[in-house]
């Protein structure tokens, strides 16, 4: 259960002026829910996610996770970034085992469990490769495995598929969905794509532009497991997309 209360974030810029990125955002995410955050560029989606992760400090309001106020990063909340942020000096296996090693799991065991995760994300054959030797899709798979490996309760994903091409993106979306349907983590998912948000989420939070505020929270009532081809023909799905696209375009001008 993530509980965000009247959250605000004001940056001090280098010029000495201040810039409010986020204002008065309140949101509750029950355990096991998949919530997407949608909004125009620069509205503070990433900033919101970073604050939940504990990487940045809020300047107003507070965030609590399972009743404990967030003070800093912790292994209960695992981030996955658009730029993968894999450790380039470690192999894929080393990356995935890293979090486990940090948690004090002995090396052999950590590597064994890392291998299991690599199998789940179809990278078992690339365990010894360095990140730079992988394609974008494979890197993102490895990054997801690295975070899942230390079993955070909450996944914080910041446009994880934003840099991928359409085909890889479709594949990874389906894979993420099936993984999540097994694991049932709580997921906070930032995206630009309306389509993606509707396809994946239980609820979509639409933010308005500068400063970012909640414009609307749209619950997505579509049956699970979801199959993309079926979904595309589903009128309810289309209406969600149309509704959200409109909210987004209006929100940007608001």
């Amino acid at each position: 259960m993530i509980c965000i209360e009247q959250l605000g974030k004001t940056f001090r810029t280098a010029r000495g002026t201040s810039h409010t990125a986020i204002q008065d955002i309140s949101l509750e995410v029950p355990e096991g829910q998949f919530v997407s955050i949608l909004g125009p560029s620069g509205c503070g989606k990433s900033t919101l996610l970073y604050m939940v992760g504990g990487f940045e400090q809020a300047t107003a309001g507070q965030i609590s996770v399972n009743g404990r106020v967030v003070q800093g990063p912790g292994p209960d909340r695992g981030p996955v970034f658009q730029e993968y942020a894999l450790f380039p000096w470690k192999t894929v296996l080393g990356n995935v085992a890293y979090g486990l090693r940090e948690q004090g799991v002995p090396k052999a065991q950590a590597e064994e469990r890392a291998m299991q995760w690599l199998e789940k994300v179809k990278l078992a054959n690339y365990a010894g490769f360095y990140p730079r030797e992988l394609s974008g899709g494979m890197r993102q798979r490895a990054a997801i495995a690295r975070t899942l490996a230390y079993e955070p309760k909450i996944l914080l994903m910041d446009e994880p598929f934003g840099a991928l091409d359409a085909h890889t993106r479709l594949t990874l979306q389906a894979e993420l969905l099936s993984l999540w349907e097994q694991l049932k983590n709580t997921v906070l998912f930032v995206t630009h794509s309306v389509d993606e948000a509707v396809y994946l989420s239980d609820r979509v939070v639409v933010l308005t532009g500068t400063p970012g505020r909640v414009r609307e929270i749209v619950p997505i009532d579509l049956p699970r497991p979801r199959v993309r081809a079926e979904l595309l023909r589903n009128t309810a799905y289309q209406e969600y997309v149309i509704q959200l696209e409109r909210l987004l375009v209006d929100g940007a001008h608001a």
């Binding site: 990063p73 912790g74 000096w89 940090e102 730079r132």
Partner: protein, 268 residues
């Protein structure tokens, strides 16, 4: 896939093999040298052949070898000092605004100062032993190391650090296990520039404050009108530079084989 050689067809031509190109350039430089020396006809400017003839006498002379190894020894010690002090300070400057604001003005002030020019002053303070020379080499080498470590540390993708934080890694562990490796490619660029700097400072400090060493070998030969030996020593110094640089580049590539830019060119 946009490799540097993306222009034209990509197969290596015969003259593109590094060894072949090197030999070609060496021969070319040798010819230019020979022509110039023949044209000028100064007793003080022998041709390459005479310099090469003077080489064995130098290399086989234990006292000359001793001078060379003394210089190299001082260079390595100075270099090691710089490694130990400059890299941590550079990383700290790259990660902490306070450290940066304190040290950066000092560093940019002394940056254009010719370190070897401090020899006469340092000799007043620290005497004649190797200490002043080691110190001056360490100072000369430190600046590029400092600069590149700072650059490397400040350019680290903050998400790498965040990822480690999320795994529960503490600040000290992060500095050594995330910041250091992530900045390593950039640090090593500074270290490579440092190798050349070390040589330059070594030679020039020995020229200014002459004592046992290669620089002294050079000037003694000159004072005694042994011109072929002068050029033979220069050849030795050039060779030292090329070999050290080449070795270092090998090491650098090995250490950063994981990095995107590992296959980079000579360009620093």
């Amino acid at each position: 896939m946009k490799t540097p050689a993306a222009t034209g067809s990509a197969t290596t031509l015969w003259y593109e093999k590094p060894a072949v190109a090197m030999v070609l350039v060496v021969v070319l430089l040798g010819i230019v040298w020979a022509l110039a020396s023949w044209r000028l006809d100064f007793s003080s400017f022998p041709g390459p052949w005479q310099a090469l003839q003077a080489l064995p006498a130098l290399i086989l002379d234990p006292s000359a070898l001793w001078a060379i190894s003394l210089s190299l020894g001082r260079m390595f010690i100075g270099y090691a000092w710089a490694l130990v002090f400059a890299i941590p300070l550079g990383l700290a400057m790259g990660r902490s605004r306070w450290v940066h604001e304190f040290f950066n003005p000092l560093v940019s002030l002394v940056y254009p100062m010719p370190k070897a020019a401090l020899m006469p002053i340092l000799m007043l303070w620290f005497g004649l032993g190797s200490f002043s020379k080691i110190l001056v080499i360490a100072m000369g080498v430190s600046l590029p190391m400092l600069y590149h470590s700072c650059l490397g540390a400040s350019r680290i993708e903050s998400k790498l650090v965040w990822t480690a934080q999320a795994m529960g890694m503490g600040p000290v562990a992060r500095l050594f296990r995330i910041v250091l490796p992530a900045a390593l490619p950039e640090i090593l660029i500074g270290c490579r520039v440092g190798v050349v700097m070390a040589l330059i400072v070594m030679v020039s400090s020995e020229m200014i404050a002459r004592q046992e060493g290669v620089g002294n070998l050079l000037f003694t030969s000159m004072d005694m009108a042994q011109y072929p030996s002068v050029y033979a020593v220069i050849l030795i110094l050039a060779l030292m530079g090329v070999v050290l640089d080449w070795l270092f580049e090998k090491a650098r590539r090995y250490l950063t084989r994981w990095s995107e830019s590992a296959g980079g060119t000579i360009l620093r």
